[in-house]
């Protein structure tokens, strides 16, 4: 599965990494380590026609983006 590990990156990097990885199709799993990239990646994906689900994994967040 297509995956992006954006933990340790600050905004806007996680969104840019997600945008780039989406060129290889969905589903895409994105890992982030705080609320700001979680909210930003959700906004980016939903406003560009994708479906997003997310869950907490330990201290991180895992988003799953599908078309």
């Amino acid at each position: 599965m297509n995956q992006v590990d954006a933990r340790g990156y600050s905004c806007p990097e996680p969104v840019l990494m997600t945008k780039k990885a989406l060129q290889n199709g969905t589903p895409l799993v994105v890992l982030v380590d705080n609320e700001t990239p979680l909210q930003n990646v959700r906004r980016f994906a939903t406003n560009n026609g994708y479906q997003v689900t997310w869950k907490e994994v330990g201290e991180d967040y895992e988003l799953t983006i599908t078309k």
Binding site: C11, P12, E13, V15, T36, F44, A45, N47
Partner: protein, 318 residues
């Protein structure tokens, strides 16, 4: 600041026990001194522009209190690897804005640090009867904002070089326009309250105004000037962490109507650097105020109104 002892000097007219923009100290019956300090790391790569932005931001607090800047002191931190020309450019940028403000740089202090930082400590003067605080708003007043929002979102995008030249220029223009022109255009009009919109975002500063004056403030989201590029970037999730902190900080005190688009809300919470002034003006004075702003070329817009205290401090309407 909560743990610090309260100041006992009766000449300290405005201190840190209210959440105001600067301290005000009464020197004589007709002179009060305004004192403020602000500095931060670079928001743009160009050193001269950074100096201008930091100075515009630091000077703003004096205008927000109704005063005029007179003296400024440089505060500078820079890494030893930074070329000396860059340091000179930062200081020259700052000096250009201090001069434009009609004040003088009287000295300063610099230290070596890993990350560059620059700002000013500014002293201004005001007549004690003309001091503007952020707690004087009256029910029925109209809220007027003098600059468009979006600089937090735009500078986040600029960090990743996502801005076209024209968008970058618009951002720099917003952050380097002194609030002097808006403040001077007020003239003899009696404002009820004033603050400048900075790190807490428009909603955060409106919340403080409402809290201080015992009112509820209505914001008309559709009227608030927002840079179009910032709305586009917010839709794409290019939003600084500070905007989310501002949402958390105001969440319990804010009612958001569901008809307000998410990206508009995001920009209402966007932390601003050197943002505009926010006036609370009696409605009967609004027409005169707007006329003066227009004559001075200040793009002021009525963005809300002051209402009796309701359940929440801020009500964001479409």
């Amino acid at each position: 600041m909560a743990g610090l002892p309260k100041a006992a000097d009766p000449n300290l007219l405005v201190g840190y026990d209210s959440s105001d923009d600067a301290a005000v100290y009464k020197v004589s019956h007709d002179v009060a001194m305004i004192q403020t300090v602000d500095f931060f790391p670079p928001v743009v790569d160009d050193p001269y522009t950074f100096g201008q932005i930091a100075a515009t931001n630091a000077l703003s607090d004096v205008y927000a209190m109704g005063g005029e800047p007179r003296l400024a002191m440089n505060l500078l931190a820079f890494p030893s690897c930074l070329p000396v020309e860059a340091v000179g450019d930062i200081l020259a940028g700052g000096a250009s804005k201090v001069t434009e403000a009609g004040a003088v740089i009287a000295g300063g202090h610099s230290i070596e640090d890993q990350e560059p930082k620059y700002g000013l400590c500014v002293t201004g003067l005001v007549h004690p009867r003309r001091i503007l605080t952020n707690s004087g708003a009256k029910v029925g007043d109209i809220l007027v904002l003098t600059k468009a929002l979006g600089t937090g979102v735009l500078s986040t995008a600029a960090k990743a070089e996502l801005l076209e030249e024209a968008d970058y220029k618009q951002m720099v223009e917003l952050m380097t326009t002194l609030n002097k022109y808006a403040a001077q255009a007020v003239g003899s009009i009696s404002l009820s309250a004033c603050t400048d919109v900075t790190g807490f975002g428009l909603v955060g500063h409106v919340k403080e105004m409402a809290e201080g004056s015992g009112t509820t403030m209505e914001l008309w989201a559709g009227k608030v000037p927002i840079v179009p590029k910032a709305l586009e970037l917010a839709r794409d999730g290019i939003i600084p962490a500070g905007a989310y902190r501002n949402m958390d900080f105001t969440a319990g005190d804010t009612l958001e109507d569901s008809a307000v688009p998410r990206e508009v809300l995001d920009c209402l919470y966007d932390p601003q650097t050197a943002g505009g002034l926010l006036f609370s003006v009696p409605e009967r004075q609004l027409h005169a105020l707007m006329g003066r702003m227009m004559d001075a070329g200040v793009p002021a817009v009525a963005v809300g109104a002051v209402r009796p205290r309701g359940e929440k401090l801020v009500h964001i309407k479409p």
